[in-house]
Amino acid sequence: MSNQNISPIGMKIGWRIYVAVCVLIFVFLLLPLLVIIPLSFNAVPYFSFTPGMLNLDPAAYSTKWYREVFASYEWAAAFRNSVVIGLASTAIATVLGTLAALGLERARFGGRELISAALLLPIFAPTIVLATGLYFLYAKIGLLENRLGVILAHAAIAAPFVLISVRVALAGIDPRLSKAAQSLGAGPVYTFMTITLPLAVPGVVGGAILAFITSFDELIIVLFVGGVDTVTVPRQMWTGVREDLSPRVLAVATMLTVVAILTIILTQLLRRFAERRTRSVAG
């Protein structure tokens, strides 16, 4: 039965308009990122396209901002701090989150979802609130302006992400796999080590990546409880954007965007890898 209400041409035009609107929204999503990439190669320290750039004149482009960033002492220190703090807090967060996810998976009592919700609270609590509280705490115990203080704070907000990621991975494991293993005589611990844990690894890795990004991009806690030793990339960008807005900031922003894109591709590959493993194991 054909639809009397709308003509095929009307449908086509309607669909085209809809897709056009969607494309505009996608442009909105990507515009600020797309804009900074070419501007970071601007030969002059302006934040807009010079006539030379629009004419694609090679002389209007330059990599000097990137060279300045790499030669700069402050940016080198900032990258070093970000990586050190990121790796350390990721390590802590991954351990905490994975253990907690395993614990929640085992738990059979009614309070499980309550504990789960409570453990996820750091994600939703406004960081400014946590930063103020941390300032008071650290002032008392002497962790202000201290790298360790920032690491521990970042671990606290990153751990819930690991928890979610590992829980999702564990939930995706077919329970028949471990039952099959046990029916073949494997003990509980052996089953866990050879079946459950390997299948959960993509979740752990995915969570660790998320944790690292959370720490790397975090600004507010670093602003409030950090000091000279803890100037991270976002902290350096904050000064750069507010005070001396030079295209060096754009160069750093471009690099961060490229890293984010690579990370997404990496995680998509990871996900496909994990799916293939589960499928091959389940047969």
Partner: protein, 414 residues
């Protein structure tokens, strides 16, 4: 070995073994690290903040005997007598010496402006040493000491628990007489910013929903490969920090920015008509919608995937206009995703600090910015703590409401 029963009723030996062995101890051990860690580095800071907002023992410690003496005094008795004044004058001089006088001054300042200076002048007057009785010295410093209200405020200021920071957070002040009045002649600065934060966050939510819904629906209608590409396009801004994206928007929207330059070059606007799209509320709105849009997409997508495509086709086959089928069949079935998205975006939006600080200008600030101001500029930590607590309680209530709803409905993130 225990005995079990087959379906036919034959008894057989059965060995039961739980999948992970005994439950309780192991589970607790696994949960303990993260729980303990968060108790120390999440709950404790919050607790200290809440305590900071209402509890201040330092002023009482500056003038302990005066506090004790004033315990039995109340305003109906009139201005305190010479014995109390003597204790007060002695302790005040000592607090001037060890600098703790500032604590009392700042507490009193919540209700009587100029109190720190008054206390200091009074302390200096007593420090000089005199034959006159304390009441005469006080009278020579200021007529305020002859007011019962001043002493009432002093008494309250020496008490450890105080509601004054919370009152200040909502622009209310306790007059010396004890009644509540509007602070600063009814300017209601803080309340206005709080209201603005919530109102703009609501607008951001709705805008995100309006923009996210079409593209998410598109992702369910196209081939998996195209959907993947679309998803990557959504995830790229999500995985870039808000700071990077905000920088991009500054470059785009500022007066000498790419957008304005393009519009002028194309002749759409004149050079002096450049659009003020940033460093004001518009800027905050645009950038925050951009930052939070991917967060709206994710729950919407997972709830859309759960709706069978056959439903809309069935509606159309029964004669419905395709758009009507979409609106009355598909959309209501995505309500869990819509609710989750709106709640998430709102919770995150009210707590924002970075974006309003960078692109908000003067009118685009959120409550987070006011809190930061009181922490690092005005150094009124008690007020910052009170406002933080209010913000936290607000988000916590929404979170509890959200968790309860999602617990009924299924997964939180999809």
């Amino acid at each position: 070995m225990s005995t079990g029963m087959t379906a036919e009723g034959i008894a057989i030996p059965v060995q039961r073994r739980k999948l992970f062995g005994r439950q309780g101890a192991g589970t607790a051990l696994l949960l303990l690290p993260m729980v303990g860690f968060l108790v120390i580095f999440f709950l404790t800071p919050l607790g200290m903040m809440i305590s900071r907002s209402a509890y201040d023992p330092t002023s009482g410690e500056a003038l302990p005997e005066t506090r004790m003496a004033l315990k039995n005094w109340n305003p109906e008795q009139g201005v305190p007598g010479e014995p109390i004044l003597a204790v007060f004058s002695r302790e005040l001089v000592r607090s001037l010496g060890d600098r703790s006088i500032g604590r009392v001054g700042s507490r009193m300042n919540d209700r009587i402006s100029g109190a720190p200076q008054l206390l200091r002048r009074t302390a200096v007057a007593f420090q000089k040493g005199t034959e006159l009785p304390p009441s005469k010295v006080l009278a020579s410093v200021s007529p305020d000491w002859g007011e019962v209200g001043t002493w009432s405020v002093l008494k309250d200021s020496l008490i450890s628990l105080t509601p004054d920071k919370y009152l200040a957070a909502v622009d209310v002040v306790r007059a010396p007489t004890g009644e509540l009045t509007a602070a600063e002649g009814g300017a209601f600065i803080n309340l206005r910013i709080l209201w603005r934060t919530m109102w703009v966050s609501a607008v951001i939510c709705v805008s995100c929903l309006i923009l996210a819904y079409p593209i998410t629906y598109l992702m369910t209608q196209v081939s998996p490969r195209v959907a993947s590409v679309c998803m990557i396009a959504v995830l790229i801004p999500y995985w870039t920090s808000a700071l990077v994206r905000t920088t991009g928007w500054i470059v785009l929207l500022q007066r000498e920015g790419v957008l304005n330059k393009a519009l002028v070059a194309l002749g759409i606007i004149r050079d002096d008509q450049r659009l003020a799209l940033i460093f004001n509320m518009t800027g905050t709105l645009i950038v925050m919608v951009h930052v939070l849009l991917p967060i709206m997409v994710l729950p919407l997508y997972s709830s859309m995937l759960a709706v069978p495509k056959s439903y809309q086709r069935a509606a159309i086959s029964l004669g419905a206009h395709p758009f009507y089928a979409f609106w009355s069949v598909f959309v209501p079935l995505t309500r869990p995703g819509i609710a989750a998205g709106i709640t998430l975006v709102f919770m995150l939006s009210v707590g924002f600090y970075v974006t309003p600080a960078l692109v908000g200008g003067a009118q685009g600030t959120f409550i987070g910015n006011v809190i930061a101001f009181h922490m690092d500029t005005s150094l009124n930590w008690g007020l910052a703590a009170a406002m933080s607590t209010i913000l936290f309680v607000l988000v916590l209530l929404i979170y509890i409401f959200y968790s309860k709803k999602i617990a009924q409905g299924g997964k939180m993130f999809g």
